[in-house]
Symmetry: C2
């Protein structure tokens, strides 16, 4: 467990261009399009050691390591992926891919619409988890990966791993679904809706065509991020980190500027986010979350939705996650057990709420490490038959 | 328990004018000022049967009955207060008062500032729970009430009842504190802060002086209300009422207009609220919530803060209230018990979240009915000594 670990080092992002068109769930066709991705480790001669990492709301294909031009720009799941880390890049060929509609390199609302020569803006389609997975499958084809050793993700990323198991049952051996849910609750949708309202109401939104106006709906996006951020942290964790501490003062100042530390933190998070994230992307990613509900076309029967899956599942939830609480993961586990699927489930007692999936809790990481070590062992047993 | 109940009928609001100035917690002096109020029932000759009802965020002095000009305008706690109701106006003289800084009749940000001849706007002071209670005490003086039989409120109203017991220990026999808390948590403050940001960022806010521009920060206020509303309902209740039902469609429409019923509900709530509530008031009331923390000047020792209290306490919390959960009420109960105060506490298993305090759950109402019946019995025992 205490083997030495290191970083995958400086990684250059790559780009795969596709003529398309990709048929989307909403009926539209998108093309041409590009996907930005990164890879870590080496694809085995049998091309059987590939692991696809699916990202959540505001993340990207930059999963591990640093950027050649910026050693401070560390991948969002660097504590999980690298040499000697739980997903060990000495054994696995790991791929991070940026989803369609994002703002980090893959084709999205800020990209040029070939039909107009201008940014898509609000003309960029409302993409879904299903669409993302279909695009990821085209990237897998391009990279010569017929079958992933595992598809893995947390939160919205976990939805993609589930969707892979449903849509491409023969193309993954394991689905690793962390801090996720088979569908958003009314409360989850409500938070997304308020965030979207804040963006759509911002006068700088200009109906989604703000690029032409040289502005971004910064205020709306900032409020949206603040709302999201509250739901990522647990009540206890927020109490422990910030409590009712005042910012730079011993007494109340009786105004509406920053007074409490928690306000300062949230404003900072909101402002930072609104400086680099695209509002049209935020709208689409929250909508993709709202829409994901594989049981919907099966009358709410999740076991029926998961029936095509052949992958073994590993699910993890965190006790203080009130965004996607353990009950939601248990629902997936129950459906899989009803289908006699192979499933490993752990509920980790962690204080960090939804964000726990990004943190290096040792019980959590040990579990993932053990799970992937077993996958590696199985692969080498298959590679070198006795 | 099933005695017949009726409404207090059509009630005309009254107004009490005060020269002031009222010294506020922030050091400013406010005056002249007015308080809007209503009364139900009859003050006893001994003036010992008065009950003060303190309101929460968006409510007013219109607690029970209807308005002479509008039989549909029913008071916000009409199910609790009236002839034969839990707080029985055949026995008690009940007063509803609108707090300073509100927008329903008492002096607030939309009132004319005598210093300028224009609406106060952002020059209206940031008032606190302490200030409200001090103003309410002046109204009690005016009405000839030396000592209340009870001061009662839910949520922010409960904070006022607590503050009464601390600041005016001899002036109330009972403090009835429902779904309340001795202080906001970091998460509570966080939600308030996001709501305020939405208002302050709205270009129609004009630094709080929007009255002069003939506009109101409608969008910001609407988003603020939507955020608040999510925290008033329980996750389960929202799931039961709305679930993932689509609004007027069988299938996804892949856009950002209303898609789910919960979105429609929240937008309606936000828009309705922003049509009648004042944004400057919203800012101040949320700040008053943030600031209330009687233990603060006692190094966090709530028992020390409550030490002056002489009132008997009745506290009620609701199991699914995640805004001010039962733990917060239990904290008050523990502090009171440490002080050997007389305290009754009930935790009601109700599905409606924070809003449960406004609903007619029979266990909850029976408890309040019984509690007030005992108060009435004690009063008549004192009035007619054997």
């Amino acid at each position: 467990m205490n083997s030495s670990t290191s970083s995958v080092g400086a990684i250059t992002a790559q780009r795969a261009d596709f003529e398309g068109p990709l048929r989307l769930l909403n009926g539209q066709a998108l093309g041409p399009f590009s996907l930005a991705y990164e890879t870590y480790g080496t694809l085995s001669p049998r091309a059987d050691n590939a692991v696809l990492i699916c990202h959540a709301l505001n993340a990207s294909h930059h999963v591990a390591g640093t950027r050649p031009d910026n050693p401070e720009d560390i991948g969002w799941w660097d504590n999980m992926i690298g040499p000697g880390k739980p997903v060990d890049t000495n054994q696995f060929f790991v791929i991070g891919v940026n989803n369609l509609g994002s703002c980090f390199g893959s084709t999205g609302p800020a990209s040029i619409n070939p039909a107009t020569g201008k940014p898509y803006g609000s003309d960029f389609p409302v993409v879904t988890v299903e669409d993302w997975v279909n695009a990821q499958a085209l990237l897998a084809d391009r990279l010569g990966i017929e079958r992933f050793a595992a598809v893995m993700g947390g939160s919205l990323g976990g939805m993609q791993a589930m969707q892979w198991a449903i849509a491409y049952p023969a193309r993954l051996a394991h689905a690793v679904v962390i801090a996720s849910t088979p569908r958003l609750s009314a409360q989850n949708i409500a938070f997304n809706e308020v965030a979207r309202r804040a963006i759509l109401n911002d006068p700088d939104f200009h109906g989604g065509h703000y690029y032409a106006h040289g502005v971004v709906p910064r205020h709306g996006l900032s409020v949206a991020r603040m709302i999201g951020h509250i739901t990522y942290l647990s009540d206890d964790d927020m109490a422990q980190k910030f409590g009712r501490s005042l910012r730079g003062a011993d007494n109340y100042r009786f105004g509406f500027d920053v007074e409490f530390e928690i306000e300062s933190y949230l404003r900072y998070q909101g402002e930072k986010f609104s400086s680099y994230f695209d509002a049209n992307t935020y709208l689409r990613i929250t909508r993709a979350l709202d829409y994901f509900d594989p049981a919907r076309v099966h009358g709410g029967n999740l076991a029926a939705a998961l029936a095509p899956a052949q992958a073994a599942f590993c699910l993890v939830s965190f006790t203080t996650d009130w965004r996607f609480p353990p009950e939601r993961s248990r629902e997936i586990v129950s459906a899989l057990m009803k289908n006699n699927a192979q499933v490993t489930y752990a509920e980790i007692d962690a204080p960090h709420g939804h964000d726990a999936f990004l943190m290096a809790d040792s019980r959590y990481h040990d579990l993932i490490r053990t799970y992937f070590a077993q996958i590696a062992e199985d692969l080498s047993a298959q590679a070198v038959p006795r």
